[in-house]
Symmetry: C2
């Protein structure tokens, strides 16, 4: 669809049919337009955007992905940038400001109105990933003592400049929150009721320094349209809206998944196709190299038991299965524990209960997979060389017991690592699956060779 619209847009510009272009820009949803024009060259994007009304232009622009936003802004004149920024919502504006080259940002600020300048400085001062960095400063407040009708009249006047007027916060002179009222409450109340009586005094808030995901999860749990954000002095300084909460949760999930699969780097605006090969390489190489170095250990272990392997070639036949099964069962328990930790279903204090549950599951899996392995060795092991003093069933028993132990140990390791990370206030997803696989490779080989040696009396 996006690629279909490209020639049409180019045609409109080339033929000078600006009326149709203006109509298109005014009628479609800004997010839809942004998606469509993203397929154009960056110079063409601006050529189209020029024909939109200033406020709609800024809104469409805000929906473009950040890399493209920065690319475009670099090609604009200073007055064009100022106009663009002035009509953007404060949070998107501060975000763009943070990501544009510093000199460019500093050269624009003096041309902005005082209020916006201060607003940009303040919002862009919060650290990436905090509630402060994602909040917007366009929220509606009410002084105490108004009637419902007066409050509605006030909201009517400020509405055009507010991200939402559905929630308003009643604040005192220090911007401390006294309560909050929804527009629904105001509408259904008698027009002479005092907002002090209508408002809800139990307001759930976030702090500027809170993790953005915690704030988003509050919005999710309490089904909020917006969550107010307080600074260190308990003063209201911004709100996070429901639509930002969805974006935060999606972004955090991408990050979790990538961390979990051992891909490093900031994923903030990492659109797959737009990242260069070199950047992809930079994000992927570190962990792969670290794990390859850790993989040295598995080499050492095999080297240590080389004599055993030369004697029982059949052992090397079942080595890949052992590593694979350990990796699979370990990554299952790790995945479930990481996800349950992320959704706050469990915490590090539950370690004992989780381990006993995993132990039960592991025993069942170990029995099943052990039986399977026994059958495999009996049916398919006949082709391998075995020293005459040992029977195939003896070896099958040793291998299947080793596999069972490997399943139990990797399931427990898979659950323990994220729980341990969480206990030390580290991100559980840091215990990436590839790292786990490397670890259970090593423990698995040790278990395998020692079990077999012990059971076969070598």
């Amino acid at each position: 669809m996006n690629t279909l619209i490209v020639p049409e847009l180019r045609e409109l510009i080339a033929s000078g049919d600006y009326d149709t272009l203006r109509e298109f820009l005014a009628d479609e949803h800004p997010a839809v337009i942004a998606e469509m024009i993203s397929a154009l060259h960056k110079d063409e994007v601006w050529a189209v955007l020029q024909y939109a009304e200033v406020d709609i232009r800024s809104e469409i622009y805000s929906h473009l992905d950040e890399t493209l936003q920065v690319q475009i802004v670099k090609t604009l004149r200073r007055d064009e940038i100022v106009k663009l920024l002035t009509h953007m919502s404060p949070d998107d504006r501060a975000d763009l400001f943070k990501h544009m080259p510093e000199e460019l940002g500093e050269s624009i600020l003096p041309a902005m109105a005082h209020v916006e300048r201060e607003d940009i400085r303040r919002l862009s001062s919060y650290e990436e990933g905090t509630a402060g960095a994602v909040m917007t400063s366009d929220y509606a407040t009410l002084p105490p003592g108004l009637t419902a009708q007066q409050a509605i009249d006030h909201l009517r006047q400020v509405a055009p400049n507010k991200e939402t007027i559905y929630y308003s916060y009643v604040i005192d002179e220090y911007r401390h929150i006294l309560g909050f009222v929804s527009l629904k409450d105001l509408i259904v109340s008698h027009k002479d009721s005092l907002i002090d009586d209508i408002m809800n005094a139990e307001v759930i808030t976030a702090r500027v320094g809170d993790d953005q995901e915690d704030a988003a999860r509050k919005i999710q749990k309490l089904d909020l349209i917006a969550l107010p954000v307080l600074n260190e002095q308990d003063a209201l300084v911004g709100i996070i809206t429901h639509d930002d909460a969805i974006d935060i949760i999606t972004q955090e999930h991408t990050e979790d998944m990538e961390k979990f699969m051992a891909i490093s780097g900031s994923h903030e605006d990492a659109v797959y196709m737009k990242m260069t090969i070199l950047n992809h390489f930079r994000n992927r190489a570190p962990w792969v190299v670290v794990l390859a170095i850790f993989g040295l250990f598995s080499g050492f272990i095999v080297q240590n038991f080389e004599g055993l392997l030369m004697q029982f070639a059949i052992l090397s036949v079942f080595m890949p299965m052992l590593a694979g099964t350990g990796g699979n069962t370990g990554s299952q328990s790790a995945t479930l524990v990481v996800r349950a930790l992320a959704l706050k279903e469990i915490c590090a204090r539950d370690t004992i209960r989780i381990l006993s549950k995993e132990l039960g599951i592991a025993f069942l899996l170990a029995t099943l997979l052990g039986l399977l392995a026994y059958g495999r060795v009996i049916f398919f092991g006949a082709g391998s060389y075995i020293p005459p003093q040992y029977g195939l069933s003896q070896i099958a028993m040793a291998i299947s017991i080793a596999l069972g132990l490997q399943v139990i140990s990797s399931t427990l390791i898979g659950a323990l690592l994220p729980l341990g990370a969480s206990r030390f206030k580290l991100d559980p997803a840091l215990v990436a699956i590839p790292a786990l696989t490397t670890i259970v490779d090593i423990t698995g080989l040790v278990i395998y060779f020692t079990t077999v040696k012990l059971l076969l009396n070598i």
Copy 2:
């Protein structure tokens, strides 16, 4: 915190201090209360809920997790259930109805009011996972021709029974949508303006049969508070609200992650700690067993090359590293492609562009890891037995070239499998990482042994 409140709540019930209990139930947010009382025994949960006002009781109850909801409802009298259901929101009510035992549901329906009964029947008829199954029927509509003031007056009256009054849909006699107005638009308009002039005629909608995730992503993309849902006759039959969209997206994340890590089963209300060991086992065992059976192939390959391994014990030393590195690089590319597909950044048509990008990345990774492997064999391989006619550097070269080829092939396989799944309209996450690891284990062994044989002229 939840466990701290448990003794206090028990104390309140035991001492008969029902006033404090009532106050607690009225003041805190229903979602917060639900979380707190979830730590109680299911009989105690109801003992507490009895003291809440009927509508708040239903709201708190809706925030309990589904398993607990069903457990509780089974212990209640019919009239208690009817009262509870009557005050629940239509979507939550239909959901509960679907999950309670069929006989119980059927025994309750006749006791419900006609309107609610029909509503439950209709909403619960949509297939799980569709937009129809998550929508609610409590939405606000307006007939055309009203003035802004008349519309506000109408909304004021219906407000108590609507999920949201912030968006209203202007519909004709066939419930076809003519447009939508936000309460903000109504408030800022002149009171005599006609809603036909205020309303936005370009309404973005979902169909009852649409995938729930697609509907939720529309809400996310367009920053909506609610998305209207149409039936096959284009009639408005429900809305999906922003808070449901967040829950859908979170649920889909969990499902994707679990599918991706080869954990089967429905994850709809699978709270980790509440699932029995046997259920966990049922979800995890199928894939692990299937993969273990597939793992047979890797055994066959090793068996095939047993002679080579007996001659060059050093090859088995580097076997685990080869499998591990292939699994790591393959799962990185698979993760990125699956995620980019889920976020609709790419589609199956981009296969060529994606593969050429991955090929570039794979070459860089292969060079880096190949060099690393060469160094490893040279430095640590000296301890292994090598037939006298071969030099260590010759073997090091063969192993590192094999590793490089393995990195390139597994990176491409990792990207290709989810793209292929998506081309055949299958869920890309179905190509789980453990399955991928098993596949690149097999291809890796073939690459390893054939490369070494060719390069060493065996």
